[in-house]
Symmetry: C2
């Protein structure tokens, strides 16, 4: 059982890495990029399938995301 | 139009950050975590909807992913 936690900066939080990438893409000739925002994804392999959504949500709250500046989503595949 | 590029280390490439997170989760009492792998996600907002999949794939090849050690997927939403 594998779960994916995607952590993105909350809207309104400045993302200098994303700004730098948007500039870099423009410099390489990629037109039409309005904005880039950068996040993290955690692929978590679990031993069993019990309450995966709930357990992984707790992992994200405990360790993976900073709720002051980040939002996260959990997807189980 | 928004595209998401997810970049993960290729299988077999050592992921020390993922190992540290797996240890951290175990230390916090989260049982049953086999492994954690960490990747990046780029949320790219585009002006128009022409050839998005193709254009964003080229952006990933040009700048976002290192093909020697990383794989990427492109998702358009």
């Amino acid at each position: 059982m594998t779960a994916f936690v995607t952590v993105m900066l909350r809207p309104g939080i400045l993302d200098p890495q994303g700004l730098a990438i948007a500039d870099g893409l423009a410099g390489l000739g990629h037109k039409g990029v309005q904005s880039v925002r950068v996040g993290k994804v955690f692929e978590i392999a679990l031993d069993d399938a019990d309450n995966v959504q709930e357990r992984v949500t707790q992992m994200a709250k405990d360790l993976l995301a900073n709720p002051v500046i980040e939002d996260f989503t959990v997807e189980v595949r």
